[in-house]
C-alpha cells in the first residue's frame, strides 16, 4: 500500500512540467520538500482552509476536492485531505 503511494508520488514528481511537490500536515509542518520554496506550505494551508470552509458553508454535505491556482508562470494544485495537504506546482505549458 505504501509502496504504491510512494510510487504515485514519484511519478508525479517526475511528470512533465512538475516543479515541486510538498506534503503539508495539519499543523503546517512540511515533509517531502522537493522545492526550495517553503512559504507555500503555510500560505496555501490557510487558503485551503478558507476555500473548504466556503464550500462547506454553502452545503455542509459537500466537501472540497481540490484547488487549482493558475498564475502566469505556473499552476499550483492543492488537494486537501483530512490531515494532509498535497501541493504540486506544475508548469503546464511545457
Amino acid at each position: 500500500m505504501s509502496a504504491e503511494v510512494e510510487e504515485t508520488l514519484k511519478r508525479i514528481q517526475t511528470h512533465k512540467g512538475v516543479i515541486g511537490t510538498i506534503v503539508v500536515n495539519a499543523e503546517g509542518n512540511t515533509t517531502l520538500i522537493t522545492s526550495t520554496k517553503v512559504d507555500y506550505a503555510g500560505l496555501l494551508h490557510q487558503l485551503t482552509m478558507k476555500a473548504r470552509s466556503t464550500v462547506r458553508d454553502l452545503d455542509p454535505q459537500n466537501d472540497l476536492t481540490f484547488l487549482r491556482i493558475r498564475s502566469k508562470k505556473h499552476e499550483i494544485m492543492v488537494a486537501p485531505d483530512k490531515e494532509y495537504l498535497l501541493i504540486v506546482i506544475q508548469n503546464p505549458s511545457e
Partner: protein
Amino acid sequence: MSTFFSQTNMLLMSVWSCFFGQDEEDGTEMGEGDEWMQGKTLIKPLDQLDLTEAELKEEFTRILTANNPHAPQNIVRYSFKERSYKPISSVDQLAVHFVLEGNLLHQDSDEARRQRAKQGLPEGGEDAGDVEEGGGEERADSVESKAGKKEQKITNQFNFSERASQTLNNPLRERGCQTEPPPRANFSATANQWEIYDVYLEVLQKQEKNKEKAKAVPKKDDDKGRELKNVPLFPPQSDDITKVAKVAKIIERMVNQNTFDDIAQDFKYFEDASDEYREQEGTLLPLWKFQYDKAKRLSVTALCWNESYKDLFAVGLGSYDFTKQGRGMLVFYSLKNSTFPEYIYPTTSGILCLDIHKHLPYLVAVGFYDGCVAVYNLKEETLQPIYKSTAKSGKHTDPVWQVKWQKDDMDNNHNFFSVSSDGRVVSWTLVKNELVFTDIIKLSLAGAVSEGPEGVQLPIMGKTSCGTSFDFHKQIDYLFLVGTEEGKIHKCSKAYSSQFLETYNAHNMAVDAVKWNHFHTKVFISCSSDWTVKIWDHTIKTPMFTFDLNASVGDVAWSPYSSTVFAAVTTDGKVHTFDLSINKYEAICQQPVVAKKKTKLTHIEFNPVYPIIIVGDDRGYVTSLKLSPNLRKKPKEKKGQELPKGPEVEIAKMEKLLSLLREPENSNA
C-alpha cells in the same frame, strides 16, 4: 388689711389685758398696749369700711410666693422656626434688691497677677510652706502661664495638662501566598454549519456501529454476494505516507490533465468542422494513448469498458503467438489518467478475454491461454483472483477465447460463460468459495462427417470444433452464437446441449468475433481472418452484407448509439468504420491509427457513452480515438416533425435496409 390687723390686734389686746392685769411696770409694753388699751373705745377712722360680722369672719387666703411681682408675665419673642411671635414660657423672676460691688480679686486671676507684678511679689516670703506650695504652684502656674503666654493657650481655671495615650501599633507585615497557576491552553474553534454537521454525522455513525455490532453477533450467515457488496473498512494505517494515497491519486490526475490539457479539451468539445464538407466520410481524432511499460512486449488481447464507470476500461494482455507464451496482465485504465493504470494484475498465463459484470463493476471474469478462467474482485487488495478454475474443477484444456457474464441464476449466484478451443461452452457459477462449472454445449462439427471404415474422412480436429468467439443475444436470454475455428457460426440455445439451432457457413477461416446488434434483434455481425466482415440476419442463412477489408480482420464492434454503425480493425493498422444507412458498400472512414505500420490492431471497443473508441494493438498500446460527427450521424430531423428517438428508430433503420435486401432475395428466390 391693716384694719383687719388692727381689729384682731385690738381683740388680742383686750384678751391680754384681761389675763395680765397690766402693771405700770410693764409700762413700756403695756404702755403701747395701754395706749391701745386705754383707748377702749374704738376710734374708728372715718373711712373705715363697715363690714358686717359675717364679712369680718370671712377668711381671705394670702399666698406668699417668690415671684418677682415686677417681672413681666407675657414676654413674647419671635420664633424663626415657627415664624411667629411666641410667648416665652419662663420669665426670669430675679429681682435684684441690692448690689454692692466689692473689690476682692481672686489671686489667680489676671488682674491679681498684674497687681502682684506691680507690687513685685511681696507675698513670696510670707508663708514658707504656703509660699513653697504656692511658689511651686506659682512656678508651675508661672511656667504654665509663661508657656501659656508663649503659646497663648487658653487654660481653664484648673490645672490643665494634656495627656494622650496610644495603643501599641502592631507592625504591619505583608504576607502573600501563591499557588501554581493551573495549566492553561489556548483553545479556539469556529462553529460553522458544516462543523456542526460533521459532529452530528460522527455521532450517527457511532450509533450505527453499535447497532451493527448488536446485529452482527446473531447473524452470521452472510451471502457471499452481500459480502462482496459491502464496502471493506480501511485497515488502520500506521504509515504516514499511506494517508496521502487518495489525494496523491487526485493530484496525479490533475497533473495529467494539465499535461494533456488539449487532449482533454478535444475529447470533450472538439467536433471536426471539416466533416460538413466531406459528405459522407468521417475521421477519427486520436486522443490519449495508454501504455504501460511493463506490458510492452505483450499484445492487447481483450478490451472491455466498464458499464458503471464510463471512463474506466480493462485491457487484457497476453500473446496470440503460440510460440511466445508467457505471462499476461490485466490492466485497468481511466481516461482521467493516461500515463499509469489504475489497477494492475499480473498473471502467470496470457489473458485472452475478459468481461466486466454489468451491474457489479468490480467483478471481472478473465479467460487465459492455459485454459483457466478466473474472477477478479477489484475491491480486494490482493493481486490474486478470488476464484480460479483448476484442472480439477473443469478448466478448459485449450485457450479460452471468450467469457461473458450472465444474469444471476435462480440462487442469486453470479455466473458466466466461456468458450474455448476444446469445443466446450461452459457455464461457471460462483458458489460461495468456488467455481462450479456446467457444460452447456459441446461443439461438434456440423455436417456429418463420414466415418468411413478407412477413417479417411475423419475431421481434422476430432469430434469437437474449436469455439473462438460467442455472443449472447441481448433480449433473448438463452440464445447465443458461437463462432468456430472452421469458420462456422452456430446458433445455440442454453437449453439444448447437443444440438444447434442453426449453423451458418460464415467464413473460410476462424471466426474472430461474432456480435449481436444492440438494437435490431435479428442482426449479427461476424469477422474473420479471411479478410471479410459479414452481417447476418439470423433467420437467413446467407449474409446480408459482406465487406472485404484487404487484411485480416481482428475485431469488429457495433456502435452503441446507432444500429447501422460498426467498426472493424485490421492487422494493417487501420480502423474501418461503416455506416450502413449512409453507404452500404464502403467504409465511411478508413484510417490508420498506429504509427508503425507493422503493428497489428487486435481489438476495438466503443465507449457506451462518449463518442470514442479504444483500439488495442499487438504492442501493448491502447489508443483512444474520437469519432467525428459524420460517423455518428443520426437521421436528419425534418422541420416541424418530431423525430422519435430511441431504439425503435434504430431498429426501423436497420429493418429498412434489410427489407431492401430481402426483397430482391425473395424475388430471386
